[in-house]
């Protein structure tokens, strides 16, 4: 008798925990935000969802830092979470370009706690290639750290320049192809150090398939944008995509191994 291994789609359609695959969520957040109610935004909540789906590890940043002004508190949330869940949660350090003198010291403070990646967000009102961010890039480049950048297409020219200037940084562009997808495809094809994450609430037709076709599956990382969005919903964009299981495995976790240098 021969048995056929169930596909990822078949397992997901049954709501099965995805044991046996390496799943990594490259874009998470912890903590509350003023604009809307987030019912489950603490580290224990996130871990419970990861356990239900079978997500082994994630990289997270603090909402109060990522889209707020309370940088230390946001980074402290992440430090506490990485201590509480070692090996499960990795932390992004968010820096404050509106406090340029504090950028390098805040990175060193968080690095001493084991954080080794940077998150930047255009909510802070500064272009990514401004002088205020430079200390963060200098440190990230000298240590070959990854940088996650919130993007909505308009930030891409600055990222392009920065990728040329800081060759040791691996860049992850959030919400890839949610707006002006061709610009993301072009940039990811042109720059080896630029990777794209999948999170987008809209879930438009064929978006993940187009990313794979245009940039290759090795350039794409699954990111959920938890706790703003639901990992349970966002992962469906990959699990049910019209791509091969090998491509799904790359996007769901294997690319993150390389990107975050987990091995």
């Amino acid at each position: 008798m021969t048995t056929t291994k169930a596909t990822i789609l078949e397992r997901a359609r049954l709501g099965q925990r995805l044991d046996g695959l390496f799943l990594f969520d490259a874009h998470q957040h912890l903590g509350e935000w003023h604009q809307f109610h987030m019912p489950k935004c603490e580290a224990a909540d996130v871990i419970a969802v990861m356990d239900r789906i079978g997500i082994a590890q994630a990289a997270t940043s603090g909402v109060p830092a990522a889209v707020g002004s309370d940088f230390r508190a946001g980074n402290d949330l992440v430090i506490a979470a990485t201590r509480a869940y070692p090996g499960r949660l990795h932390g992004y350090i968010v820096v404050n370009p509106n406090d340029p003198a504090g950028v390098a010291p805040e990175i060193e403070r968080c690095a001493a706690e084991g954080l080794a990646a940077v998150k930047i967000h255009s909510y802070h009102g500064k272009p990514y290639d401004c002088a205020e961010y430079r200390p963060a890039y200098e440190i990230a480049n000298s240590r070959s750290w990854p940088v996650l950048a919130h993007t909505w297409a308009e930030e891409l020219p600055a990222i392009d320049r920065l990728a040329a200037e800081y060759p040791n940084i691996r860049w992850l562009l959030a919400h890839a192809a949610a707006a002006e997808p061709q610009k993301y495809y072009d940039l990811a094809r042109r720059r080896d150090s630029i990777f794209l994450d999948t999170c987008n609430s809209a879930c438009t037709w064929n978006a993940v398939e187009s990313l794979v076709k245009e940039t290759g599956p090795e350039k794409i990382l699954f990111g959920s944008d938890v706790s703003f969005l639901a990992a349970t919903q966002q992962i469906g964009r990959v699990l049910f995509a019209r791509i091969s299981d090998r491509d799904k495995e790359l996007i769901l976790g294997l690319n993150a191994r390389r990107f975050f240098r987990l091995d």
């Binding site: 709501g15 037709w205 639901a230 019209r242």
Partner: protein
């Protein structure tokens, strides 16, 4: 495997669409088969391009031999009589086997207040025909007034924005006849679990908004929720089945 009945699938060609987007009966059926979706309730895009009269005619033509796809209609207020006398039209619609209606007040340039759409809403309420509303077509105050005046009208809000709990929970608490589907862009950690616990699993429907939004995320949003399999069955199929079964 939990059987799925998608409450929100679109047929027909939009003015602007992503290349390759399925727009035909065959295209919809292929995607439903791929994801093992048993049935879908279908609206016709023509209602948002040409108008409800053309859409209502076309959807019956296109779905006449398809068991898995159930037609819905779109109607207009009585003032211009474009879709006829509300009570007569609703009666004819039900006799033709159509048991759900989509209203697009913003796109069709009218209001849901009783001075404008009162007899249409009363006709639908009297026959227990569920009314589907896209999130972008109605504002919270208008929806609250509608639900206040038509307490037995079953209303389903579709493709809801995920940043809405502060008013959405208020409506759920006040109006038992309000439901919503799980189609994108809705995506919020802990939402499904919290709504089931606070307001009951009857308030949610499995509906995707396909092909504007992929079906897969709505599937995983439901199947990976931390709720019981019984609750998943209700949301996946039974709630919609019951809504359609209540039409008289």
């Amino acid at each position: 495997m939990i059987e799925l009945f998608d409450s929100n699938v679109r047929l027909g060609v939009p003015n602007k669409c992503v290349p390759g987007e399925p727009t035909s009966v065959e295209g919809l059926l292929a995607e439903l088969r791929r994801l093992s979706i048993a049935q879908a309730l279908v609206r016709h895009r023509l209602a948002l391009e040409t108008g409800p009269v053309a859409a209502n005619h076309r959807i019956l033509e296109e779905l006449h031999s398809t068991q898995a796809l159930l037609a819905t209609w779109s109607l207009l207020p009585e003032s211009t009589r474009e879709t006829g006398d509300p009570a007569e039209t609703v009666d004819r619609m039900i006799r033709l086997g159509v048991r759900a209606v989509w209203l697009y007040p913003k796109t069709h340039s009218y209001t849901l207040r009783d001075w404008c759409a009162g007899s249409l809403l009363t006709a639908l309420e009297d026959r227990r025909v569920p009314v589907f509303l896209l999130f972008d077509e109605v504002v919270p105050d208008e929806l609250a007034e509608l639900l206040d005046r038509h307490r037995r009208l079953n209303v389903v809000l579709s493709n809801v924005n995920y940043r809405t709990n502060r008013w959405l929970y208020g409506l759920f608490a006040r109006y038992p006849s309000l439901r919503m589907d799980l189609g994108a862009p809705h995506s919020l950690s802990g939402f499904v679990e919290q709504v089931v616990k606070r307001f009951g699993p009857e308030r949610l429907l499995f509906g995707s908004g396909f092909p504007e939004h992929e079906i897969g995320p709505a599937v995983s949003y439901l199947l990976y929720a931390e709720i019981s399999d019984d609750d998943k069955q209700l949301i996946a199929r039974v709630n919609l089945h019951n809504l359609l079964g209540a039409v008289r």
